[in-house]
């Protein structure tokens, strides 16, 4: 009965979404009175999807094998937490989660949005309902998560052990919250384009959503990168895999939107531009979903090909993006540009930021989809990997990182001071980094060397907005910005150090043998069999020393029976100056074991940088909410973006 209840809730929610859309049309054509039930309908619709999702969690928690999805993706012997997480570790479940977040975001918008006019809000809620409607149709007609099996099988087919990891439990939901948070920005932009009310109030209404979504995307990407790093056992933190790109593209667009939104909020300028970015940001989320869920690209994450689903998603994508861009083309030109600004001004700085981010986005987008175009046109199969992305997007990212230090120093409207004077110390730091790396490490590649230079410069440049004023009186949003920009410098340092100074050792060792990697001597003490809840394993005991004291690492190989697979569980030890990363492979006939060892100096800074960026976002969000409470709206407007 549980599954049927979930399905019924889904149908009802779809009906309400259709009703919500109808209300919007009627309201915009005649009067707003018609749309009085709008907010309530949106809230109930959100509630119903929550019910449907709860029902799905319940059938997974109870291992109800009569539900096809549970049978295919779960197993009664699985640890409880992974049974529950398994609910969204598959196609249907994750799509249900997607639409649930979409509808709940709509409900929150209906409940809490007081910043836009009622007219724009109604148009926005209507747009949100249309978005949800398409995904309801997708679930109900092409990927029903509640389909039953008869007769019910005895036990499930299990879940990939690689995916039995805390990463699975939190990573997709975080990313989805980010993806779908951008849907609200999309809907508000569509609403405002429909009503013509694109102004700073709209930007302020969008801001918490974009900021929130951006924080979650940042966290999701950072966590996903670390997950791939320790779980795959390949020692890399970013593979330019299409699925990774699928999360990077909305992040790039959201980052651009985040910055242009502030221009719109503070100065009323960049109206059309910001609306376009809001449309693009969520379009990228949908493109990402399409890429991942249709399995259309070769990817270590891709799912089996299912043409029907892929086509359905592609059609949805085409309709939504096409409609939004048509609307933009019809209305965008008639938007009046806001306050003018001069060539050297913070507005211009943010335009440049947006341009570079857009170019990087374009490069990632083209690189990700290029194999698809080529195969469709010529039938030839090819792939685009790290060499392309690093060579083309890397230098641009470095240029952007240099400008990150300059932009915040510019004042609104027009900058006539010589701001380069303020940048003397950062420039000096960058220069010394260049000299030091030239002397100490003459052989490293050009990109990591430039990475060190830019990072050294940016660490100093990022804090300049707090210099010369009482930092305690600076708004939280400024602190947030400084922290996020510092995060870029920190992450960049980690990437450069990892690229320049990592050492790798691949070898075979019998118990008692010693391998060296970087400054470390690693001795294989022994290999012992062990077992976990649903797997058997072998565990190596490695004794690593570098001069003083020794540390013990225990990498494992797990063997699962349902389905029969094995996974390498790396053992990683973190030190202040880097990570020692060890993997045990297969054994050979003479009793030796394959060992793969890395010494990765300062690699942790990569994820620390990501965390700092997200924290900066969180501070800014807190600052906005807090200030909004404190200041009347008039005061707010006068102070503008701080």
């Amino acid at each position: 009965m549980i599954a049927e209840a979930g399905l019924a809730a889904l149908w009802l929610a779809a009906g309400l979404a259709a009703y919500q859309f109808l209300l919007m049309i009627l309201a915009l054509r005649s009067n707003l009175e018609v749309a009085r039930p709008m907010r309530a309908v949106a809230v109930v619709q959100g509630g119903l999807t929550l019910v449907a999702f709860a029902m799905l969690l319940l059938v997974f928690a109870r291992s109800d094998m009569s539900v096809a999805l549970v049978f295919e993706n779960s197993h009664s012997a699985k640890p409880f937490i992974y049974k529950v997480a398994g609910a969204w570790g598959n196609h249907e479940g994750s799509m249900l989660m997607w639409v649930t977040i979409l509808a709940v975001a709509g409900a929150f918008l209906a409940l809490f949005s007081r910043r836009t006019t009622e007219r724009t809000l109604i148009a926005g809620l209507g747009s949100q309902a249309v978005l949800a409607l398409g995904f309801y149709a997708f679930l109900l007609f092409a990927s029903n998560p509640f389909a039953r099996l008869f007769p019910a099988p005895m036990d499930g087919q299990g879940l990939n052990p690689l995916l039995q990891d805390p990463g699975l439990a939190f990573h997709p939901p975080t990313l989805y919250l980010g993806y779908v948070g951008l849907s609200v920005a999309f809907s508000l932009a569509v609403g405002a384009l429909l009503t013509g009310e694109v102004d700073s109030r709209l930007a302020r209404a969008m801001r918490p959503w974009v900021l929130g979504a951006w924080i979650l995307l940042t966290l999701g990407i950072t966590a996903g990168s670390y997950w791939a790093y320790y779980e795959l056992g390949w020692g890399g933190y970013w593979f330019w895999d299409p699925v990774e790109n699928a999360s990077l593209m909305p992040w790039l667009a959201a980052t651009a939107l985040l910055h242009s939104m502030n221009v719109l909020a503070a100065r009323g300028a960049l109206k059309a531009w910001t609306m376009m970015l809001a449309v693009i940001a969520f379009s990228m989320s949908m493109v990402g979903t399409f890429l991942v869920r249709s399995g259309i690209l070769t990817s270590v994450h891709a799912f089996a090909i299912d043409p029907q689903r892929g086509t359905f998603l592609l059609v949805l994508l085409a309709i939504y993006v096409g409609a939004a861009f048509t609307l933009f083309a019809l209305r965008g030109a008639s938007l009046k540009e806001g306050a003018p600004f001069e060539l050297v001004s913070r507005e211009s700085g943010l335009v440049v930021n947006n341009l570079i981010l857009s170019v990087i986005l374009g490069i990632v987008f083209l690189g990700t989809l290029y194999p698809l175009f080529v195969e469709a046109l010529s039938g030839e199969k090819l792939s685009v990997g790290a060499p392309y992305f690093n060579a083309v997007a890397g230098p641009l990212a470095l240029i952007l990182a240099v400008l990150v230090g300059v932009g915040p120093l510019l004042s609104w409207r027009s900058e006539r001071r010589l701001i380069f004077r303020q940048l003397r110390i950062p420039a000096l730091l960058g220069l010394s980094a260049l000299v030091i790396t030239m002397i100490l490490a003459p052989d490293i590649h050009i990109l990591p060397r430039l990475g060190f230079v830019v990072a050294a410069y940016l660490i100093a440049a990022a804090v300049l907005p707090l210099v010369g004023r009482n930092p305690l009186r600076a708004p939280l949003a400024t602190w947030g910005m400084v922290l996020a920009h510092l995060g870029i410098a920190v992450g960049l340092t980690g990437m450069a150090a990892n690229a320049a100074f990592s050492s790798e050792r691949l070898g075979i060792a019998k118990p008692g043998d010693t391998l060296s990697v970087g400054p470390w001597l690693v001795q294989l003490e022994g290999v012992t069999p062990t077992a976990g809840k649903n797997f058997t394993a072998v565990e190596a005991e490695l004794r690593a020393t570098r001069g003083e004291g020794a540390v013990i690492l225990n990498p494992q190989t797990h063997y699962y029976s349902d389905p029969p697979t094995e996974t390498n569980e790396s053992a990683i030890r973190t030190f202040w100056n880097g990570q020692l990363y060890t993997v045990i492979g297969k054994s050979d006939a003479s009793g030796g074991w394959q060992l793969r060892l890395w010494w990765k100096p300062f690699v942790t800074l990569i994820w620390a940088g990501g965390a700092l960026i997200a924290m900066g976002g969180a501070l800014a969000l807190l600052g906005r909410i807090w200030r909004r409470r404190r200041l009347s709206s008039g005061e707010w407007r006068r102070k503008g973006y701080a």
Binding site: T298, V384, A391, V392
Partner: protein, 146 residues
Amino acid sequence: MKPKNQRLVLVSAALVAVLVAVLLAMWGLRSQASFFYTPADIVSGKARDGEAARLGGMVEKGSITHDPDGVTIRFIVTDGKAITPVIYRGIVPDLFREGSGAVAEGRMEHGTFVADTILAKHDERYMPPELGNLAAEHKTGKTLEK
């Protein structure tokens, strides 16, 4: 700037950005994209020596051998029509095994494919899309899709 000029500047800046992105991407893709081949393609001479490429197919049963150094493996990839020997130094991925689908990234060198990376099916339902047709042709789909 007057608002009108401002818009003009913004629009042209956006156009330039798009153009720059497309040009950079085209330049990069031309030099950096790597083609996907099956053993049949290799035999017909499509892959040039030393050029970045990907090779996909089934790992032939009984073909995996280990070199004395313990970390270099050799195996044969087949698509049912032709075979290509592969050499790889490293720990093979979790799901790599004989009779299963695999994709190797690397390059051809003197008739042997030298792999830098080996990708195997990652999900129990995952199969490199390029191998989709292959599986159907050779009835090996079962072992792949499980």
